[in-house]
Subunit: 283 residues, 2 copies
Amino acid sequence: MKMFDNIAIAGLGLLGGSVALAARKNNLVSEIFGYTRTPETLEKAKNSGIVDRGFLCFSEMVKVADFLVLAAPISINIELAKSIAKIKPNILFTDVGSTKKSIADAVEKHFKRKHRFAGSHPMAGSEKRGIEQADGDLFKEKTVIITPVRNAEKNTVEKIDEFWRNTGASTVTMDADQHDEICSLTSHLPHLVAFLLVEMISKEIHSSEVFACIGSGFRDTTRIAASDQEIWTDIFISNKHNILKSIKNFRTSLENVEKMIKAKDTDALKKWIGEIKEIRQRI
Amino acid sequence: MKMFDNIAIAGLGLLGGSVALAARKNNLVSEIFGYTRTPETLEKAKNSGIVDRGFLCFSEMVKVADFLVLAAPISINIELAKSIAKIKPNILFTDVGSTKKSIADAVEKHFKRKHRFAGSHPMAGSEKRGIEQADGDLFKEKTVIITPVRNAEKNTVEKIDEFWRNTGASTVTMDADQHDEICSLTSHLPHLVAFLLVEMISKEIHSSEVFACIGSGFRDTTRIAASDQEIWTDIFISNKHNILKSIKNFRTSLENVEKMIKAKDTDALKKWIGEIKEIRQRI
């Protein structure tokens, strides 16, 4: 059943393109609009039939939009949200950024009185990027976290929740603060650490000996180190407070293991690894 | 073509069992002997046909062995190597431990004049363990690193090299010191970091919100955090010197990123991530 006349998507990368394909595939809209700053991407999106109508001007798209999804890097989504407050403050919209507090703050600040926004974070990220990777099944059997924002009109969260469930996702509602705190540990710190692990071998990457010593452990642990620099710079900056706290805790634990190794404390190491192994096996 | 009358394997876990199955599958030996301290494992190995003859006494197996593979945790392999020096100092043998310097030192020290030992490190590790996971194709298309040891009889490395190539692996020869230094970066530090990432969420593991925020990034990055505590305690201790050096370098880089985030230095972050992404894409 169609939920909206149209869906308008700002940012046509992996996530934006996948939202378009999922909306089409599940028959949720009559028309799909797409906005991007890059004419080539817009051409690709139109030629491949991912969007029906393309826009190089955001405000033009907003004016005719029914349901709007912000799928650009976080700092751009925030700028776009500010301009929505001026162009069409009563539009239903969400974003798909990986941090939720900074955009929630921007909406609270720039929308007078009421708005129809709630944040979304589809747990369907990937180190891949670009509209070529878009997949209408990307959200199927994945979790989408929805973060309500103060001063939202009635039914805002419900409508956005319904949209995601119609793409095949299950949804969880969470406070933006709590989301950002948890994700700094489950996603942002792991990315940061994966980047560091690759940096550690970067000087010796041309050595055949180093290549010989790279196994599936290194490959899996650092898969996400091939992630995009625009997206991840925005995530690290927009969730600065929590990430710095997570780094601090990580460093304390690192120092603790370092002490165990220095002291050759096999009992403590076995206990530490054994407990972690058990937890990891439950995930 | 059969290379040996028999292969004798000490330690019947994932690696030991897989060596047995690969030797059988590729028709490299007439008979397979297995030693383990655990009667139940020995029964399993015999009943499933992985070994033809089981031993609960190591020296008894060594006496009748033709080619010997040490596949127990490193600290136990070292003890077994010492006893080989007394029981049958002219036997051809190797080990499959993940660090190579400590066993090389033990062989150099305990074998008078000559020996027929070279170390092996199959880059086919896994967080899985136990003979139930053994796989005759485990080494196929994988790299096995062979580490020669001073005072070895002529042809020692060649024989061991030939054995691994006959299991379907490709081989690389490397100095034990160099191996341990590189693997502290490509394997040991990634494991340590994966353990730490799981530790970071261990207190909140029962929270449904934390579970909702766990995506494929966290799963992949921490897959190896389900690794065995006996094996990994031995690795961390036996490669203490290199791992402590790697931790130190890692911490310096971590502090560097921390500064970039604190200063909201988007240009530096983008450059850093962009360079790492490019390196990771080449791996």
